[in-house]
């Protein structure tokens, strides 16, 4: 009796653990693109640039964005500032374009460019954004290293911005080896 009861509990726990584990592997890391992300684009990297080009948004996205919403394209990794150093400039035809390279106070794990008023985009226009690194040598110390790129949407508050939605592609960009990913 006790053995059977124990067996039932063990089976139940295994089922619960498997379910939770399966759920934990999905969700936050899957790439849509959903409504907060350009419906098409091409993310690419090299030793001298981080770029996302051929980006287009549709009317549904523009309508969904709030007036104080921002959007960012982020390249993420714990070693991102070793892989990319020696920033020289950024360039984009996006309106309200900004760069976000470093935060102060502690280490951070992403390099981004963004649009601080994303509702100001033009529907179906082809956009690009690029961060440039001149004589960057760190890149070649991380050959085959997997990088994550992310689309993030947030909202400006009274004095600070709060991220509200994001999606990530964790499996496509590898330093030097797999340098672009279109969708």
């Amino acid at each position: 009796m006790k053995k059977k009861a124990m067996l039932a509990i063990i089976i139940a726990l295994i089922m619960l653990t498997s379910t939770v584990s399966a759920l934990a592997l999905t969700g936050y890391t899957n790439w849509g693109p959903r409504i907060w992300t350009p419906y098409q684009g091409n993310a690419s990297i090299s030793s001298t640039y981080i770029r996302c080009a051929l980006m287009k948004w549709n009317q549904a996205s523009k309508t969904a964005y709030g007036i104080d919403d921002y959007w960012e394209f982020e390249l993420r990794d714990d070693n991102i500032h070793s892989i990319y150093n020696g920033f020289t400039g950024s360039i984009s035809n996006l309106p309200y374009f900004y760069e976000e390279l470093n935060t102060t106070g502690s280490d951070n794990d992403d390099i981004s460019f963004g649009v601080w008023h994303i509702k100001g985009i033009t529907v179906e226009k082809s956009y690009y954004g690029q961060l440039d690194y001149g004589n960057n040598t760190g890149y070649y110390n991380y050959i085959s290293h997997l990088l994550t790129f992310e689309s993030e949407k947030g909202i400006w508050g009274i004095f600070d911005g709060l991220p509200t939605h994001y999606e990530q592609d964790t499996n496509s960009l590898r330093v030097y080896v797999a340098t672009s990913k279109g969708w």
Partner: protein, 224 residues
Amino acid sequence: MRNKTFSDKKKVAAFFVTAVVLVALTAFALAMYHDALATENVQESPDVVKVLIGIRPSLSQEQALEYENNREDTARQFALDAPNKTSKALISFHEYFDTEQCNAALGEGVEIERVFIWVPGKEGRSIIRVTDNNVDSSIESYLNSLDYANSDDEVYKADMEELVDNYKIFAVTINGTNTKLSQLCDDENMFVNLVYSEPAEQQSKDLDIPISYICAPLKPDIVQ
């Protein structure tokens, strides 16, 4: 004895069924919750205080003017409190400048960190790191480093071809003494916005998370 065994079997079966039902219900609830998050990808805990150094889009013209006045008042107050201390500021020009006009407007005693350029009347911008306080050579060096001729993005290529010969400056970030920044506030051709926010700094300390200042200068055009 037989009856007791049968009863035990019923209990085990009931226990097992209950356990399975409970697991199924828990999994269903977790799935619903997780699916909701996955669909929306809600980021529940921000890991950085992100501050917009610029005019929030939803502000009315009146509110924007009030914001500008408040920010310049803060810079003036900094000069009174700590005149020789160095602060960082985002300077937005009210008209496009060439490099000579930019240098003349800023005068002596500032370290230029970034210069913001683009073709007037056109959407987009380029933000360039300035080295050796030399705006002219920094812009030239950056634009020369871009391999746009071989790009398969025709929009980018066309923009670059136009930019190299037609760029103008609309903003810079600089480091200068509070006295110097306060003096620049008196120039009606520019808006001086300290790269600093007291409440954000406080929040950063309270939550022990880093702070990120987003420099967001408006261009003199309607087109941004």
